[in-house]
Symmetry: C2
Subunit: 202 residues, 2 copies
């Protein structure tokens, strides 16, 4: 059936790598990708973490920035480290971006919108945590006032909460994650394995 669920969080550095790679990889292997934004912060909170473990564990955090920079260079992607403090701090607040993404992904410009949010954040060092910035990016892709209204609606707030709850029931604990049938793959470095599994699944 060649269907893959792509679970990502807007504040996640490794999600950026997959967001920029998945369309091309999936197309080459004739795999259909369902984009599933969710809130990793809610999953972290359930594990007792008030922020990203990359901020809590200093060595792990230092390593992550270096690792993502190396991987981005390998893939030919621009990537800049965000500071811990300031408006464009790490991790950024991806709440409204995720709500808008749910609206956008019902339309043809959804995936392009998601990519532009990640590019604004990790290539251009911009703050993607404000409604103004997200509305602006969405409008550039063709969003109208109805879409902006939808992104702020109770329906979409509830939809994002439910989507995050579904992520937890699937055993997802980090981002990006890929689900093929009952099989879970975690991390940008498992994207190729997930695609290969989708191709082989009867």
């Amino acid at each position: 059936m060649r269907r893959l669920e792509f679970w990502f969080e807007f504040g996640s550095t490794y999600s950026y790598l997959s967001v920029m790679r998945i369309e091309d990889l999936a197309a080459r292997h004739d795999v259909t990708v369902e984009w599933k934004p969710f809130l990793l912060g809610a999953v972290f909170k359930a594990q007792g973490w008030a922020t990203s473990p990359f901020n809590i564990y200093e060595d792990k955090g230092r390593y992550m920035w270096r690792d993502v920079a190396r991987r981005a260079a390998k893939y030919g992607l621009e990537f800049h480290r965000l500071p811990h403090e300031g408006p464009a701090r790490f991790p950024q607040n991806g709440l409204y971006a995720a709500r808008m993404a749910l609206v956008a992904l019902e339309q043809p410009w959804g995936e392009a919108f998601c990519k532009s949010v990640f590019i604004a954040q990790f290539a251009d060092g911009e703050d993607i945590g404000t409604q103004e910035k997200i509305d602006e990016l969405a409008c550039r892709h063709g969003a109208g006032s109805a879409d902006i209204g939808a992104a702020r609606s109770q329906r979409i707030k509830d939809a994002l909460r439910v989507q995050t709850e579904i992520a937890v029931t699937k055993g997802i604990f980090g981002a990006p994650s890929f689900v093929v049938g009952d099989e879970l793959f975690w991390g940008d470095d498992r994207l190729e394995d997930a695609i290969a599994f989708a191709v082989e699944l009867p």
Copy 2:
């Protein structure tokens, strides 16, 4: 210079994958590998964890066993999940194995000994936490009573403690880790990148 430090922990599932793969990969790229056993438990304790995070975080643990099984199959390696309880529980106590490894790695049979400990544990499901088992494996590779005495000596106890302290100063927070010059790579899935980096380093 093509020199790579290979930091591993005897209780670590992902270290098993690298232990079984590194000799062939390094030989093919003419990279010299320095084997560095250390105690990951001491590093975990410094982060406030009393056991492996794979035991603390249930979803992450469930995922790890599945992920290592998939990777082992991909590499053609036998792999069996260890129970949480019992003599051969996860994680096993690799303290004495690491001490013997320090003795063994001063001799030509060191790497073969290390591999046989991992195979006993993860392919054959045996308990590698006892001195008897480790002595038996070492003797099979040619260890004599002087080696067994050395593995129990204060010199080697101190050497393992110092080795673990060096791991921390290098920013190592998990196993396996690979160090090439000042560059740190974490995880069996970064072994190829680490080798490539060693090849390119002037």
